[in-house]
Amino acid sequence: MMDETTLHEQIEKLRADSGAGAASVHVHDYESERTFAHGSDRWFHAASTMKVAVLLALFHAAQTGRLRLEDRLHVRNRFRSIVDQSIYRVQRDRDADAAVHRRIGRSMKLVELAEPMITRSSNLATNLLLEYLTPAWVQSTLASAGIEGARVVRGVEDTVAFDRGLNNTITAAGLVDIFRLVREDRLLPEVARRQAFEILAAQEFNSMIPSLLPDGAQVAHKTGEISTCTHDAGLVLLPGRRPYVVAILTEHPPGLENTQKTVARISRLVYEFITA
């Protein structure tokens, strides 16, 4: 039977065996109202996990009347660095989603951009939404919900900012707090939370948190990967019990293999702990 001490030990063993430099895990279980924290206040490069904050800020903006989700936005691949206002573009061959690139010159509904931003981690969709909403709006949305473990300052592929060390950053605890907003009545009404959940549950990249869970598990989640980080976080729904929220963040040397498997194994450990 997995207890809290064992879970800490096993996460640490998995981390060491994998070659990762750091692994943070945060869990909140709605069934037992227990929280588990393993280095969960450590800051990481957020990679694509920041897109969940953009998603919630979009729904929050709709809720406050700032925009309508059905409104259309011009799809244009041209953004300005937060450092010097220089132009940068999202590289099509580095973007996991090509569908939004095919719409360049035309427009898409805001909600139509939100879907590929999450389900296929579209960098172009993310930058379009973030440019329209502004990082300040996303940050103020997080602040209004009392979330301190996430900092959204720039779009994806702003390499000038990256070179200056200006990155979107996150903690495992912060990411769990963000996912809790999808379930709890603290920021968004039921209809918006349901819509956000459905987008997250349609995630197409399922090689981490869900991969070693039983077939009956439903996971509404968002992955995030750069050369030195591999993350996944989300809501895990199991039959016959309330869900739990988990965030697994790892940092490792560039080129390290099997980083997704490490996250998947940690997810399995968390599952065994939760259901013990």
């Binding site: 925009l67 309508r68 409104d71 259309r72 936005l73 011009h74 799809v75 244009r76 691949n77 041209r78 220089s86 132009i87 360049i104 010159g105 035309r106 427009s107 805001l110 329209y132």
Partner: protein, 193 residues
């Protein structure tokens, strides 16, 4: 298409469209904004209004959510009468390039209240078009933009294209094609205040 004098529109519309008002551009130029508009009853109306053989009105007035709420969500819409002149020149351009000419969203007419209108340009006169694709060619490189810029300029001195580049007044992901600050007053409409 029905023509309306902008000065007779509702106060809300006048505040956004600024019909006949003088507008200072960057530098010493001051220009008068359009006063006479075509009234567009519905989006269907815009789609069905064929200005030339290859351009519908809808292609030249499509904007996104950066447009003022009233002008985006509620009909009728109002478009400066010079839009038909723009369509005529675009048709000539299409004939020269012998391929479909695609105008970007926000790349035709946009109102003075549009969030991209902070730097005034002939888009507010309905006399400019941002062309992002011609046939299968995406206009996102210096080579492609300059190639088609030379063809556009060959239409005559009325046509201005912005040079390639990332700075204000330049373009690097479309061809900016404009006819300047052209005002259009149809017969039977007086410019008296």
């Amino acid at each position: 298409m029905k023509i309306v004098d902008g000065l007779t529109l509702s106060a809300e519309h006048r505040a956004l469209l600024k019909p006949g008002e003088m507008l200072a551009l960057a530098g010493p130029e001051i220009h008068q904004l359009p006063r006479f508009f075509y009234e567009i009853e519905s989006w269907q109306h815009a789609k069905e209004t064929q200005l030339t053989a290859h351009f519908t009105l809808s292609e030249l007035i499509t904007v996104d959510c950066r447009e003022a709420d009233l002008l985006l969500h509620r009909f009728p819409h109002y478009v400066p009468c010079a839009v038909t002149v723009l369509a005529r020149y675009l048709e000539d351009f299409r004939e020269r390039v012998d391929a479909p000419v695609c105008v970007a969203v926000n790349g035709g007419y946009r109102s003075p209240a549009h969030r991209l209108s902070g730097r005034p340009s002939p888009h507010l006169w309905a006399t400019a078009a941002n062309i992002y694709r011609i046939g299968d060619t995406w206009l996102d490189s210096q080579k492609a933009i300059e190639r088609y810029a030379r063809i556009a300029e060959s239409l005559g001195p009325d046509v201005y294209v912005r040079p390639y580049g990332p700075e204000p007044g330049e373009t690097d992901d479309h061809l900016h094609f404009d006819l300047g600050y052209l005002l259009c007053t149809r017969r039977g409409y007086s410019e008296a205040q």
